[in-house]
Amino acid sequence: MEFSAELAGIASILLNPISLLWILFGTFVGLVFGALPGLSATMGVALVIPFTFTLEPVIAISMLIGVYIGGIAGGAVSAILINIPGTPSSVVTTIDGYPMARKGQAPRALGWAAFASGWGSIVSWLLLITIAPLLAKICTGFGSPEYAALAFFGLSIIAAVSGDSISKGVIAGLVGVSLSFCGIDPIWGNTRFTFGSVNLMGGISTVAALIGLYSIPSILSSCLDKDNRKIDSKDLTIKNIVPPFRDQWKRKVNIIRSSLIGTFIGIIPATGGNIAAFLAYDQAKRFSKEPETFGKGNPDGIIASEASNNGVCGGALIPMLTLGIPGDSVTAVLLGGLMIHGISPGPQLFSENPDFIAGIFTSVFVATIFMVLIQVFGIKIFTKTLNVPVNYLSGILVVLSLVGSFAIRQNFFDVMLTLGFGLIGFFMSKGGFPAAPVVLGLVLGSMFEGEFRRAVKLGGGSPMIFLQRPVALIIILLAIAIIISSAVKSRRGRKKEA
């Protein structure tokens, strides 16, 4: 009986052209939202919810999942083509994606991003349909010590994204952490470092920082550039875009590892694609035979970032569907979408509505296929941006960047914040400071501080609590091992150069 219900659920998606069209529409909208700086997958899902009111619940949620998967993958398009991450989770994609585009390999970089995103989604989908309830139980048992340890682990990645100078990366990372203190104290609720400004009470907007640090310096530096190498439409053949299966097979370990990292991070509530991407990038670089090519246009960097951030999608759906706990901000909005359609997520959903669950699982797979296809066939349109003369593109990008930062809260303060970050980011790029650690620090800083302080409080004022929690202890030891190995590698590198 249950099996036939599941089959009916699968058929309701696969054999229903209307469902397929809505998923296609959702995925397309998601890709557009992801690709435009300032618009996010969360915003996309939230804005599309009203369109679903008249739809059947399974089709409605399937379409929203399409927006989610497309939104996360779409961030890579602007990250690769114009060095402006469309979403926070595609920050890491800029590190190797943009250098590839500068070398005239934009179609291949976009192809890698599309396929890595697709593989990431597929791996997390496989985990979603097989071990969802078990994984959810393990990860939702995390407390403050484990979260603090995880944030510390994330911060230890700063060394991997620091480029040539670890000390500059550490300073940039600490600046990011310091900026995260701004706003409301996570424990006491009093305001800190707001200098009396109401606009700073909610903290520093990550989007404003992201756009400022990445777009303004990049636009200013490109002022003197000659036009980008024109991409001939003859070069945009499927053969040039789609990475050969042989190459994909060669990179299978990176693809699977990054997808698994993404899925695992996605399962843990209140994390997100950016943390997953940083972690996966670090691991890809660490295990690579040519780590020195990372940051200079190595496809493995794009694969790590995109496979992991899309792996988060399936991972985040696990606690949302099994326990009703959102794994990230997008699934929090998706949860709202479920509620609107009268569906209460939880273990009972699996036993009482197997057809609905089967339909949702199928839609994740279908949306992933659509996402890859739209990207592969849309690359011809996306790469047209590179053919726009630099003098026109610079002005357009400035307007788009400032509009992107303004659109989130419709607050002019965010525009000023973007300009401030842009100016500092420009000096930083000229002085050889990496921007990624600032973003990493800003994203993880408040999480680390809040959870660390909560854990210490839980331990009666003593940090010894971390020694009593095996999972937290293992994560901390791993982070320390990463820091030591990064320092040793950097030292060896300097000795070699000398």
């Binding site: 100078s165 310091s178 800190r192 636009i219 003197l224 630099v390 400035v398 659109a407 300009l419 009666g460």
Partner: protein
């Protein structure tokens, strides 16, 4: 490692260190001046104080090392930024300020037109103006019409 850096890059590095030193010294002063709030566990300002302290020390040490390197190597040269970058930078700031004075629409058209002409002198004015107008119309449609973003338009508000 430092030998390979040009003195210009060192100057920019120093600018970042000085900005950090000034900014985080103010932040540290604020943290030190705030009354402690904790009964059990860490105080509200303990963590920030530690991080600000580390940044200040690191920036001071790196700044000092750069100055010593400059004195020892005798490299003080500073390559000025290209005129177009400087003008673009000033224009971006003026453009943002104009949002509140003449509004988003008009300022965007003017900014894109002048920026396009500035970066390529031989670009026809008409092309530049059309790109400026087109960009503004598209962004107005996407963000203003589809996503209900309310752009500042003081002149329009005054007329209406």
């Amino acid at each position: 490692m430092g030998d390979r850096k040009t003195s210009t890059a060192k100057w920019y590095e120093n600018i970042v260190y000085i900005i950090c030193l000034v900014f985080f010294s103010i932040e540290l002063h604020e943290a030190l001046a705030t009354k402690p709030r904790a009964v059990n566990g860490m105080q509200s300002m303990t963590f920030p104080k530690v991080i600000f302290g580390i940044i200040i020390v690191m920036c001071a040490v790196k700044l000092l090392m750069n100055i010593i390197w400059m004195i020892r190597s005798g490299e003080y040269g500073f390559e000025l930024l290209d005129r177009r970058i400087l003008i673009s930078l000033v224009m971006i700031i003026v453009y943002a300020a104009l949002w509140q004075i003449i509004g988003f629409g008009l300022s965007s058209v003017i900014f894109v037109t002048i920026e396009s002409k500035l970066l390529r002198n031989n670009a026809p004015w008409l092309h530049c103006a059309l790109v400026g107008l087109g960009t503004t119309v598209v962004l107005y449609f996407v963000f203003g019409f589809l996503f209900n973003v309310d752009f500042p338009e003081p002149i329009l508000e005054m007329i209406m």
